[in-house]
Symmetry: C2
Subunit: 302 residues, 2 copies
């Protein structure tokens, strides 16, 4: 099974306590696609500027990404500039240049419309909805969003949420969306809005997963050095949904394992700037980190 | 094996978003002793005021606590008043009345000096050290502390830390003690100060455990309603060390399971005010919560 990924492809300027980079390849669709590529072929829907490096697209294609849905727009690429605080949990957006993103109309190539596993990365919820309407055989549609849309497009976001199977948000967004501080109560409230399943990302504290009457808690891997948290959430989503598409089984129970696989990918991506770690990482590295997570969370063997 | 517990026994006034209570039994030694009592006999060293309810001491004794080390001082009991914020992670201390605590000199009854498993609850590090010096056969000495002592008695605290086997602090205290923001690096730095093992409490996010070259991460149980976080840390410590004393094996590897047992007790105590839940909870309740933790953290079965 392949995974359809809709989102942004960006060029980022990033400052972290470990250093800074400019023109770093980023964007939700790029991170998610590369993370998912270790499990499944991907099909990308995004827009890039006419300044975007052709080589990067070729590299994504060589990792099994079908780029039939990636348009080259008229103008420069979407750009984001941000600076992380010392604690890495907070960041300031220094600049956002939408550029070609304003032209983005996610039209799915005919061959993409039968893809059953879908990740709608963080973009305007009306655009996410337009993708959803083009799908013919959906089995699992997951969407990410952010506080910006909660503030500026809440009705559209609520319409989208009512239609999807899995929502991925961070803890602040879960609280804002539900009006509940307690995350268990927030999860109940959000699931009543539509999505049967919910993932709440808690940054360095890991992820909570909700499905049926079950809660799953996955700690983040405690790393001695986090270089750059950019894209960790999208990498997590790509790894998680890539695993579900690979297993080709949207039924309950597999989500926990998928969360673990996503957490593995997220713990790797933050070890270098941007997506660099994901380009160089090997299946053996991924397996070793998975085993490290097994050991990290094991308390029954003793 | 029994567990020696040194600390405070208090009467607390507590306000949380769920309500408020006055003259609630509390203090580090009381919480830790009741939590540990489900695993081992305990031996308490503490001081109470002449206003302290005799019935509570009788109840502790009926739970297997040896009170030979509990003195009734001349004056009212140690009192703490606090108010929790809406998020329950932060609290303001409204009032602290040391009262008889200023008379506290932890002299160990002869029969206590051969106890091998020891929890030094959060008190003046000089007093903690004086207990340590009275021990004859120690196998595992654990100590808790707080930011107050980091600020006001750092040299004494460092002397204590150099002598103990296991330090229990929260994440802010770990950062303050080490000067490192990253918790893995903070843990390395703290363990170089003396304690081979370290537990870092992260409130609603759970606990990190460090021993040998291994890290263990235990999430807290996501509860729909937290009534009162008071004493959760001491309850955790009591459950954790009670388990190690029960197993009578201070070697590496058991700490993970002990952290799980402590987390179970902590997840229970916050469900009602003060220690009330610990008085009423049954071994079956504890086992059910342990199984809930197993399910909460399992990602390999699917």
């Amino acid at each position: 099974m392949s995974l359809l990924i809709v989102g942004t492809i960006a060029m980022d300027n990033i400052e972290t306590p470990a250093g800074s980079v400019t023109d770093e390849i980023g964007g939700s669709a790029a991170y998610a696609a590369l993370a998912a590529s270790f499990s499944v072929p991907t099909a990308l829907v995004a827009i890039v500027g006419n300044d975007f490096p052709r080589e990067t697209l070729d590299n994504l294609a060589s990792r099994g990404a079908d780029l039939a849905g990636v348009k080259v727009g008229d103008g420069p690429s979407f750009r984001w500039s941000g600076r992380y605080h010392e604690n890495l949990n907070n960041r300031d957006t220094l600049d956002t240049q939408l550029n070609v993103l304003t032209q983005f109309k996610p039209d799915l190539p005919e061959s993409f419309r039968d893809i059953e596993y879908v990740f709608l990365g963080n973009i305007d919820p009306d655009l996410q909805m337009s993708v959803l309407k083009q799908l013919r055989r959906r089995r699992l549609v997951a969407a990410d969003t952010m506080n910006f849309w909660l503030d500026s497009a809440r009705p559209a976001l609520l319409r989208l949420i009512a239609e999807i199977d899995l929502l991925i948000v961070n803890d602040d967004e879960a609280r804002q969306l539900s009006g509940e501080h307690n995350l268990v109560r927030a999860a109940h409230a959000i699931r009543r809005m539509g999505p049967e399943r919910l993932l709440i990302k808690r940054g360095e504290y890991g992820v909570l997963g909700f499905e049926e009457d079950s809660i799953f808690a996955m700690p983040a891997y405690p790393l001695e050095e986090v270089f750059d948290p950019t894209g960790a959430g999208d990498t997590f989503a790509g790894g998680c949904l890539g695993y579900l598409a690979h297993r080709n089984d949207p039924s309950a129970g597999l989500l926990r394992r998928a969360i673990a696989e996503g957490s593995v990918m997220a713990s790797l991506v933050v070890e270098r700037f941007g997506m660099r770690r994901l380009w160089e990482v090997s299946p053996a590295d991924i397996d070793a980190r998975y085993q490290a997570f097994v050991r990290l969370t094991d308390f029954q063997t003793a």
